[in-house]
C-alpha cells in the first residue's frame, strides 16, 4: 500500500475573530511517509494540525481518510480515526505517572479497580519497539523534557494511530536527542504509519522528510518530494516576496557583518559564583561565573528548565540571589529590587510574554510604561502625566511598527507578534546598559524575528550588553559573541565565536561533556 493516499485535507479555512489564520489550505499525506510541514511562526502550521486533530473547528473544509470523508469535531473523533498529535507544549498531568498519562481517556473495561499492570507491560513493549525508552511508573513531573516527549509519542502509539502529528518536536531536545527521535520516526513509518512533522527549521525538515509542504500566511505555497527540494527553494517559499532573503538575518549563511561583530572592552555585568535556590533550598543555579562586556551579546544555550529562567530572574531582582556576587559597573546588585534595577538601566524581555510581561485588560499605553511608571517623563510631581504617556506611546507605536488602532486600545486585541513588539518597545524606551532577554523570538513570524534581531544588533552597536537566553541554537550561533551552555543550573562550558559547534553544544546541553 505504499504511496497510496492516507489522508487529505481540502479547502480548509479558519479564522479567529477578524484574523484569517488559514485560507483554502490543502494537504495530502501518503501512507508510510514523513511529511514535513514547513513555515515561519504564524504561517498556520499548528492551526492546520489543530483542525485535523479536532481542537479547532474550521469555518470550511473537508477531511478524507483513506479517500472516505470523515467529520472530526473533537480530539475524541480524531483518535477514533487513528490520528494522534504531539503538541509543542506537552499536554500531560504532572501529578500522574507515565502509565496514567498514557491510558487516560481509554476507558478500561470490566475493571473494578485501577490496576494498571497489563497496561504498564504494553507500554514497556511499545517503548522498546520504537526506541522510546521510559520508566512507566515514574511521575511525569520528575522527568526531563526529552523523556516527557517520549511519553507524548507513546500516548499516540499506544492508541494505535496511523497518522502521527508532531508539532515542533525538536524545540526542547539536544541535537543528539533530535537524531534519536528521527530514528524512532523511521521505525514508525516502516511499520506503516504516516507522520506529519511541523517545523520552522529548514535543515531538520530536509534531513528527515520524504515530502515537504510549505505554508505562508495561512496559505499553501508548494509541496515537493525531498529530492526536488533545496534550501533555496524552501527559503523563497517561506518568506515570499515581502522580504529580501539576501539581507535577511534569519536565513543568513555568512553571518553578521564586521560592524556587528565588534565587542567592547569594559565589563558591564560581572557575575561570580552565583547561586539561586528554590523554596526547599535546593539549588537551581549553581556557581555561575561570567562577565558581559559592552557591545557584547552573551548567549546561554540549554534545554528548557535547566535554570535559565532562574538565572534571568535572579539578575532582574525577581528571585533572591542566594549566594555569590553580581555587579553592574562595579555596583553590587545583590539584594536590589526589580524597580531599582530598572532605574539603573537594566531591562528585561521575559520568556513568557503573556504571563510575565503583559497586562491584557489595560490599554497599549499602560502596557508600554509598565516598570517605568515612576520615571521621566511619565511621572510628574506625584501624578502620572497622561499627556506625556500617550505622546510617548504614539512614538513607540510608530517606531516599533505596532499594529493597533490607537494607544487607548485594550492590549488584549494585539496579535502575538505585536505583543512582542510592545515588549521590545518597552525594554528600549529608556536608555539601557544591560538587556536580559529570554527566548525573545519564541513564537514569532519571520518578519518579527528579523525585527527583533535587527533591534538587538542596533542596541549592541550603541554599546548595550546583552544576556540572551535561548533554546534556539541557530539564533544563538548567529547573534552571540560567546555562548555558555547551561545544564542543571551549571555552566557546562563557554565557547567563543569561531569555535561554535552545534554538536559540542548539544553534548554539553545533555551533560555528557564539559568545556574548559
Amino acid at each position: 500500500m505504499k504511496n497510496s493516499t492516507m489522508l487529505e485535507m481540502k479547502g480548509v479555512r479558519k479564522s479567529f475573530g477578524t484574523v484569517v489564520a488559514l485560507d483554502d489550505v490543502n494537504l495530502q499525506l501518503k501512507s508510510s511517509e514523513i511529511h514535513g510541514l514547513l513555515g515561519g511562526n504564524g504561517a498556520g502550521k499548528t492551526t492546520l494540525m489543530n483542525v485535523l486533530y479536532g481542537l479547532y473547528k474550521p469555518d470550511r473544509g473537508e477531511i478524507y481518510l483513506r479517500e472516505k470523508k470523515v467529520e472530526i469535531q473533537s480530539p475524541k473523533d480524531a483518535i477514533s480515526c487513528g490520528i494522534g498529535m504531539v503538541h509543542q507544549h506537552f499536554l500531560q498531568i504532572d501529578s500522574y505517572t507515565v502509565t496514567e498519562n498514557i491510558v487516560l481517556g481509554t476507558r478500561l473495561k470490566n475493571r473494578p479497580t485501577l490496576d494498571l499492570d497489563q497496561e504498564e507491560q504494553r507500554i514497556q513493549d511499545l517503548s522498546e519497539r520504537f526506541g522510546l525508552e521510559v520508566s512507566p511508573s515514574s511521575l511525569v513531573e520528575e522527568l526531563p523534557m526529552g523523556i516527557r516527549q517520549r511519553v507524548e509519542i507513546l500516548k499516540a502509539v499506544y492508541r494505535g494511530v496511523d497518522v502521527l502529528i508532531l508539532d515542533e518536536p525538536t524545540t526542547n531536545l539536544t541535537p543528539q536527542e533530535v537524531e534519536s527521535l528521527f530514528q524512532s520516526l523511521r521505525v514508525m513509518v516502516e511499520e506503516g504509519m504516516s507522520v506529519v512533522f511541523i517545523t520552522h527549521k529548514l535543515r531538520e525538515v530536509l534531513s528527515v522528510s520524504d515530502r515537504i509542504s510549505v505554508l505562508r500566511d495561512g496559505r499553501n505555497v508548494i509541496t515537493l518530494p525531498r529530492d526536488e527540494a533545496s534550501e533555496e527553494v524552501l527559503v523563497r517559499a517561506m518568506v515570499g516576496e515581502g522580504l529580501d532573503v539576501g539581507k535577511s538575518l534569519v536565513f543568513s549563511d555568512t553571518g553578521l557583518d564586521q560592524e556587528a561583530l565588534q565587542v567592547g572592552q569594559e565589563p558591564v555585568l560581572r557575575v561570580e559564583g552565583l547561586q539561586v535556590v528554590n523554596e526547599e533550598g535546593n539549588p537551581l543555579v549553581k556557581d555561575c561565573s561570567f562577565q558581559i562586556r559592552e557591545k557584547e551579546i552573551f548567549g546561554v544555550a540549554g534545554v528548557a528548565g535547566n535554570g535559565q529562567q532562574e538565572l534571568a530572574e535572579s539578575l532582574m531582582g525577581i528571585r533572591p540571589i542566594a549566594g555569590g556576587q553580581a555587579s553592574i559597573d562595579d555596583t553590587s546588585i545583590v539584594g536590589l529590587e526589580t524597580r531599582e534595577l530598572l532605574e539603573m538601566g537594566v531591562t528585561y524581555i521575559p520568556e513568557d510574554r503573556l504571563q510575565d510581561g503583559f497586562l491584557p485588560t489595560a490599554n497599549v499605553a499602560q502596557n508600554l510604561i509598565l516598570g517605568y511608571q515612576r520615571q521621566e517623563p511619565y511621572h510628574n510631581r506625584g501624578f502620572l502625566d497622561w499627556n506625556a504617556i500617550f505622546r510617548a506611546a504614539r512614538e513607540l507605536i510608530t517606531e516599533y511598527n505596532i499594529m493597533t488602532p490607537s494607544a487607548k486600545e485594550p492590549a488584549a486585541n494585539l496579535s502575538g507578534g505585536n505583543i512582542q513588539r510592545v515588549m521590545l518597545a518597552r525594554a528600549f524606551s529608556h536608555p539601557a546598559k544591560l538587556l536580559v532577554a529570554h527566548n525573545p523570538t519564541r513564537g514569532l513570524d519571520i518578519g518579527s524575528m528579523e525585527f527583533v534581531y535587527s533591534k538587538l544588533l542596533e542596541r549592541k552597536e550603541q554599546g548595550m550588553a546583552t544576556l540572551l537566553l535561548s533554546e534556539d541554537l541557530d539564533e544563538l550561533m548567529l547573534l552571540c559573541d560567546r555562548i555558555a551552555t547551561i545544564y542543571r543550573g551549571q555552566f557546562a562550558g563557554v565557547l567563543e565565536r569561531g569555535e561554535f559547534d552545534k554538536y559540542q553544544i548539544g553534548r554539553m546541553m545533555s551533560g555528557v561533556e564539559t568545556h574548559e
Binding site: 479567529f16 511562526n41 499548528t46 486533530y53 481542537l55 479547532y56 473547528k57 473533537s74 480530539p75 475524541k76 483518535i79 498529535m85 503538541h87 509543542q88 507544549h89 499536554l91 500531560q92 498531568i93 504532572d94 501529578s95 500522574y96 496514567e100 498519562n101 491510558v103 487516560l104 481517556g105 481509554t106 476507558r107 478500561l108 475493571r111 473494578p112 479497580t113 485501577l114 500516548k155 513568557d352 510574554r353 503573556l354 502575538g416 519564541r442 513564537g443
Partner: protein, 314 residues
C-alpha cells in the same frame, strides 16, 4: 455505663449528627473543584436548600419531598454555575457570588410567598433515628455510628463511594485530570464540559441537601440566615481536606467537634461570654486555612475556565 462514658457517647453522637451538612457541602465542593470549577455559592445554595427543604416537607407532609426539592433546586444552581462558566466562560468567582446573592434572596422570599409573614412559623417533624438491626446493639460504637438518622449513614457511604470513584476507577482518573490539566484531558478525548456540568450539578444537589438537613434535624423550621456560615466553612474544609474525600470526612468531624464543643461549654457555663464561644468555628476555619496553605495541593486548574480555541503563546 459510668458518667464519663455516657458523656462521651452523647458527645460523639452529636458530632456525627453535626458532621452531615459539612460532609455533604464539602464533598459537593470537592467534586466541582476536581474538575476545576470553584464554586463560592455554597452558602446561598444551602440557604435555598434549607428554605425549600422546609417548605417541601411542610407542603407535602413528607421529609423526603423536602429533600428532593432541595436537591432539585441545588442541582439547578449547579447547572447555572456550569452554564455561565463552562459554556459562557464567565468568571467563576463573580458568577459564584451572584448565585450566592440569588440563593440568599430566594431563601427568604419563598417562605414569605408560601406561608406569609408570621411570628409563629409552622414546624415540620424532625428526621427520626433509624437503628441498624444488630449493629446498633454493639456497646458504645452502636450508639455512635448505627443509631442515627439516614443522612448520617448517607454522608458516610457517600465519602467512601467518592474515594473509590476518584482513586480506583478510570472515570476518577479522567475526572481528576480535568482539574489538573483540562487541555491534556481534552486532547485525549475526555469531555471537559460534560465532566464540569455533571460535577457542578451533583455538587449543587449535595449542597442543597446539606441545607435541607438543618431545618429537618436542628430546628424544625426555616429561619433567616440559618446556615450561619457553614457554606463558607465548607470551602475551608475542602482545602483543609486537600480535595480528597476521605480527608474531607475527617475534617468535617473536626468542625462538627468544634461546633458541639462550643455548645457544650456554653451550656456548662465557664465564665467566658457566650459570644466568644460562638466565634470558635470561624476562628477554627481561619486557623485551618493557615495550616492548609502550607501543605495542601489544590487542583492545578482550580477556578480557571477552559477554552479549547484560546490561543496561547506557541
Amino acid at each position: 455505663m459510668d458518667q464519663f462514658q455516657m458523656q462521651f457517647v452523647s458527645f460523639a453522637r452529636l458530632v456525627m449528627l453535626a458532621m452531615v451538612p459539612y460532609v455533604l457541602a464539602s464533598q459537593g465542593t470537592m467534586l466541582g473543584g476536581r474538575t476545576g470549577l470553584f464554586s463560592v455559592s455554597q452558602e446561598g445554595i444551602m440557604l435555598v436548600g434549607a428554605s425549600l427543604g422546609f417548605l417541601g416537607a411542610y407542603l407535602y407532609g413528607s421529609l423526603v419531598y423536602g429533600m428532593l426539592l432541595a436537591m432539585f433546586v441545588g442541582g439547578l444552581f449547579g447547572l447555572a454555575l456550569a452554564y455561565f462558566t463552562t459554556t459562557l466562560k464567565m468568571n467563576q468567582f463573580v458568577i459564584g457570588l451572584s448565585l450566592f446573592f440569588i440563593g440568599l434572596g430566594l431563601s427568604t422570599l419563598f417562605p414569605k410567598i408560601v406561608i406569609g409573614v408570621t411570628l409563629q412559623p409552622p414546624l415540620i417533624p424532625t428526621l427520626p433515628d433509624v437503628p441498624i438491626p444488630g449493629l446498633s446493639q454493639i456497646p458504645i460504637l452502636g450508639d455512635i455510628f448505627f443509631n442515627q438518622n439516614v443522612l448520617v449513614y448517607f454522608a458516610i457511604l457517600l465519602s467512601i463511594f467518592l474515594y473509590y470513584l476518584l482513586y480506583k476507577t478510570s472515570i476518577g482518573l479522567e475526572l481528576r485530570s480535568v482539574g489538573e490539566n483540562p487541555k491534556a484531558a481534552d486532547s485525549l478525548g475526555v469531555n471537559v464540559s460534560v465532566m464540569r456540568y455533571v460535577t457542578a450539578i451533583v455538587g449543587g444537589m449535595l449542597m442543597g441537601l446539606a441545607g435541607a438537613y438543618l431545618p429537618m434535624v436542628y430546628t424544625g423550621t426555616f429561619t433567616q440566615g440559618m446556615v450561619q456560615g457553614r457554606g463558607w466553612i465548607a470551602i475551608a474544609l475542602t482545602f483543609f481536606g486537600g480535595w480528597s474525600p476521605h480527608l474531607i470526612f475527617l475534617g468535617a468531624l473536626f468542625f462538627a467537634g468544634v461546633e458541639i464543643l462550643a455548645l457544650r461549654v456554653q451550656v456548662a457555663g465557664v465564665g467566658v461570654p457566650y459570644q466568644f464561644l460562638l466565634t470558635l468555628p470561624y476562628i477554627a476555619t481561619i486557623l485551618v486555612m493557615i495550616f492548609a496553605s502550607r501543605r495542601v495541593r489544590a487542583p492545578a486548574f482550580l477556578g480557571q475556565n477552559y477554552d479549547r480555541e484560546k490561543r496561547t503563546l506557541s
